[in-house]
Symmetry: C2
Subunit: 457 residues, 2 copies
C-alpha cells in the first residue's frame, strides 16, 4: 500500500491517538520523586500493553531505578532503535497551572489547539508520535517496514542513572543500524530540524578558602586576603574582552564548522535579535567573531552558573568571609575531552590562587559533544521528505544543550542517532502549563511515517 494510505489512516485516527496520549499523560510518572515510583511502573506497563496491542513483543525490564520498556518487531531492511522517555518533570509550582497537570485535555488557544498536561511535549507526546506512526503503518500494511526495537527510559529527567549499565548489559539486544531519538524540537514552526551536533558538558565547582574563619572587615580588612576577591579575579579572567575562553588548550580540539554546514545554517535566517529579545537581551555576548547561532550550536562556552560567599541576606554585615565558591560549566564541541579540560581548568585556577588561599574542586558532569555522522543514508532520506510535511526544507542543526543518550548510543553500542522532534519553543517544558500543539502531534506522526517510508524504500 502507499504512504498516502498510511497518512490518511493517521488523519482518521487522530482523535483516538490523542485519547491514547491523554491516557498516558494522566499517569504521574515523576521520576525524581520516590513517591511516584509506582506511577513510573504504571506508565511502563501502559506502554508495554500498548506496544503488545500492535504486535510488538514488549516487556518491562527492571533496573535499580525505574524500569525500561523494550519491545521488538522483526523485519527486513535496516534495524532501527527508537528511543523516548516516559518519565516527566515535577509539576510545582502547582498554583501556576491552569489545570491539573495530570488531567490532560485538548485546549483551544489563540495559536491553535494544544494538548495540555505534564509530559505532553517532554517526552510522552513526542514518544507517541513514533508509536502512532507504527500503529497506522501496521494497520494499513499488516506489518512494520523494517526491524524495529522500541526502547523507552523512565529516568531521563533524573539523570539516567541506570542507562549506561543497562546499555552495557543489553548491548547485543539493543544494537541497531541506526537510533531514532524523539526528544528535540522544530527549528521553527515550518522548519523541521535534524540535530546532528550536540554540545557536551563539563561542570566544576571551585571553593576558595582564605582565613580560617569569618573575620570582621573592620579588624582585618586590608591585610587579610578576601576569598571573594580572589574568586572574582579568577572568574573575571575566564573570558577575554572578545568573549574568548582563556583556559589554556580550551580550543585545541574545536573544529571549524564545515563550509557546507555554515551555509545551511546561514540559510536558516536565524534572527538573533528576536531570540535574545525574547529574554530581554540584544547583543550576542560570546566570541565576537562568531554568529549567535554558532555560539549556541558549534562553539564551546564557559558559563558561571552560580557564585556565593560571605553575607548575602537582608541588610549588611561587614564580614570578611573564610570561603567563597562558584559553579562553572563548559559546553563542549568537537573532540574536546572533558576530562583533559577539567585538568587544564584546575591548573589554570590553581596558578592564580595566592599563597594565602587554598582551593578545592568538586567535579560534576563530564560528557563529550556528540557529532552525528550524517553519512548514513537515512539522514539525507529523512531530510528530503520532511519538507513536504512542514513547508520548509528540514535543516541539519546543532543543539546548545546536551542529550547524553545520543553519545551513549555511539560510545556503547557504536550506532549513530538521528534526532528528530516536533516540539516548539513555547511548549513550556519543565514549567507550568506544559503543552504540545495538536499540530506537532499530528504532523509528527505523519513525519515518522514519511521517514520510515523514506529510509526503508
Amino acid at each position: 500500500m502507499s504512504l498516502d494510505t498510511v497518512l490518511s489512516r493517521i488523519d482518521d485516527d487522530l482523535p483516538q491517538a490523542i485519547e491514547r496520549l491523554c491516557a498516558l499523560l494522566s499517569i504521574p510518572s515523576i521520576s525524581t520523586d520516590p513517591t511516584y515510583k509506582p506511577q513510573c511502573g504504571k506508565a511502563a506497563d501502559w506502554l508495554v500493553e500498548d506496544l503488545r496491542s500492535m504486535g510488538v513483543k514488549a516487556e518491562k525490564r527492571p533496573t535499580p531505578g525505574h524500569p525500561m520498556v523494550v519491545g521488538h518487531v522483526p523485519g527486513d531492511g535496516p534495524h532501527i532503535l527508537f528511543y523516548g522517555h516516559y518519565d516527566v518533570q515535577p509539576v510545582d509550582p502547582l498554583e501556576l497551572w491552569n489545570r491539573d497537570p495530570f488531567d490532560p485535555a485538548v485546549e483551544v488557544t489563540e495559536k491553535g489547539r494544544v494538548i495540555r498536561g505534564r509530559g505532553a511535549s517532554d517526552d510522552k507526546g513526542q514518544l507517541m508520535t513514533f508509536v502512532e506512526a507504527c500503529r497506522a503503518w501496521q494497520q494499513v500494511n499488516g506489518s512494520l517496514p523494517c526491524r524495529i526495537t522500541f526502547f523507552f527510559e523512565g529516568e531521563e529527567e533524573s539523570g539516567s542513572p541506570s542507562l549506561i549499565p543497562f546499555l552495557k548489559e543489553n548491548a547485543d539486544e539493543l544494537r541497531a543500524d541506526l537510533a531514532l531519538i524523539c526528544d528535540t524540537g522544530l527549528f521553527q514552526s515550518r522548519t523541521p530540524s535534524i540535530m546532528t551536533q550536540l554540545r557536551g558538558l563539563l561542570g566544576e565547582e571551585i571553593v576558595i578558602t582564605g582565613p580560617g574563619k569569618d573575620l570582621h572587615s573592620g579588624m582585618y580588612g586590608g591585610p587579610s586576603m578576601n576569598p571573594i576577591r580572589v574568586l572574582t579575579r579568577i572568574l573575571a579572567g575566564l573570558h577575554d574582552d572578545n568573549g574568548r575562553v582563556q583556559v589554556p588548550h580550551f580550543y585545541d580540539d574545536v573544529p571549524e564548522l564545515p563550509q557546507e554546514m555554515a551555509e545551511q545554517w546561514k540559510a536558516l535566517g536565524f534572527d538573533h535579535e528576536r531570540f535574545l529579545g525574547e529574554v530581554g537581551l540584544k547583543t550576542p555576548a560570546g566570541e565576537s567573531d562568531r554568529t549567535a547561532l554558532e555560539m549556541i550550536w558549534s562553539r564551546p562556552t564557559a558559563e558561571i552558573n552560580g557564585i556565593k560567599g560571605g553575607y548575602t541576606g537582608e541588610g549588611f554585615k561587614t564580614v570578611l568571609p573564610s570561603r567563597a565558591s562558584a559553579k562553572v560549566s563548559f559546553r563542549l564541541v568537537g573532540q574536546q575531552d572533558p576530562h583533559a579540560l577539567r585538568e587544564h581548568f584546575r591548573d589554570w585556577v590553581r596558578a592564580q590562587v595566592p599563597s594565602d588561599c587554598k582551593v578545592a574542586f568538586h567535579g560534576h558532569g563530564a560528557s563529550p559533544a556528540s557529532q552525528m555522522s550524517t553519512v548514513h543514508p537515512a539522514f539525507e532520506a529523512a531530510r528530503a521528505v520532511l519538507g513536504a510535511e512542514w513547508g520548509d526544507e528540514a535543516a541539519f542543526t546543532g543543539c546548545g544543550g546536551s542529550i547524553p543518550v545520543a553519545g551513549y548510543f555511539k560510545a556503547i553500542l557504536g550506532m549513530d542517532a538521528m534526532l528528530l522532534g516536533w516540539a516548539k519553543d513555547d511548549d513550556q517544558i519543565h514549567s507550568p502549563n506544559e503543552k504540545y500543539d495538536v499540530e506537532s502531534f499530528h504532523k509528527g506522526i505523519r513525519s515518522w511515517a514519511r521517514v520510515l517510508d523514506a529510509i526503508t524504500r
Copy 2:
C-alpha cells in the same frame, strides 16, 4: 588624699566590685531582641540606683527604644562626659557556652582569673571600671575630682537608633569639655591604647540584571550575557595588583600618616605574621607599599562582604541566571566623604555595565572616619600615667572598625573623645563564652583613677 589611697581602696574593694559587676551581668539586657525590652529597662534601673548610691544625680531617660541613663555630679575643673553601653549581644548559639551566659562568675583559667558572662567585656565590665574608680575616689575624698556626666546607652548593639536624636535634644545638658569612652581594648596585654583614629564605613549593594529570567545555559550559553560574568569582572577591578583601590577619587582625601604617629606605631612592634597567623594567613593583602598596621588603622579599604548569583545549592544546575548581586564596603579614613564616594563608586560601576545589563544600587551605612584631636592636654596626661599601671607606655593607636558615637560627640556636641579601654583580643565579645580578665577589670579601675587624677591635677 593621695592617688595611692584611692588605688589601695580600689584593691581592697575588688571582691565587692566584682560582685556588683556580676549583679549587672545577670540582667539579660539584649537590645536587639524585643523580648528583652523589660530587662534593658531593668539594667538601666540598676545603673541609676548604683550611681545614686554614690551621690550622683542619676535618672533613666526614655527614648523611642531603650532608655538612656544620665547622671550628673557637679565639680570644679574640666567637665568630663563618660560614655558606655549597658546593652549586650544575643547569646546564641547557647550550646557553645560553658555556662549560662547570664549566670556570671569568676572562673580560674590557664591564663588567669576571668569574669565569664555575656557583656563582661562588651561593655558592662568596661563601663563599670569607670564607675568603680569614681566610687573609690568618692569614698576616699568625699567627692569626685571634677564635674562628671555619666551617659549610658542601651542600644549600642542594635545600631543606636535613638542616639543622634537624644544627643540633639539634650545637647546643652550633655556637652562637656571632653568625652571619655570605654569600649575599646588594650593594644597588647602590657600596652594600653588611646584610640585616636577610627575608620569610617560605607556600604553598597550592587544588583546586576541581565536576561529577564533565568535561562538554560545550554540553550542560551554563549550569546546571552551572564550577570555573574559582568559582576565578577567589575569586582575583579576593585583593586589593582598592588592592592590599591581603583574607584576614581578614592584616595583624594586620604591623609598621609604624620611622621610622629608613624614612628610611634613602628615602636609598637606590631607582629603582622602573628596577627595574620592566628587566622590562618601570612601575607598582608592590602596596598603593597604599606605596613599591615597602616592597612588596618590609617588606610582606606574596599572589601567584598558578600556575593551571590545563580544556583548555589547542592549538585549542579546549568542555569544562566537573570541576576547577580554583591555587597561591598569601604573603610574610610581622613576626610573621605562617604556620600561623595558612594557616587564615585556608582559611576565607576555604571561605566562598566554592558548595554545588555541593568544595575541597581542599595545604599547601606555611610559614616566618615573619626580623627581625635590630641591637642587637649588630657591626651598626653592620660598617656603619661597609664604606663605605670600596665608596664609599657600607652600608645596613640588607630582602629580598623568604627565607633560611631565618637563621631557623633564631635559632630553634634563639638567635643573630642578619648577612647580608652582594657579589653583583650581573646575576650570573645559577640561570641560564646565572653569573658573579661579580672586583671582588665582591676587594672582598668585603677587606670581610670590615675587618668582622673592626671587630668584634674
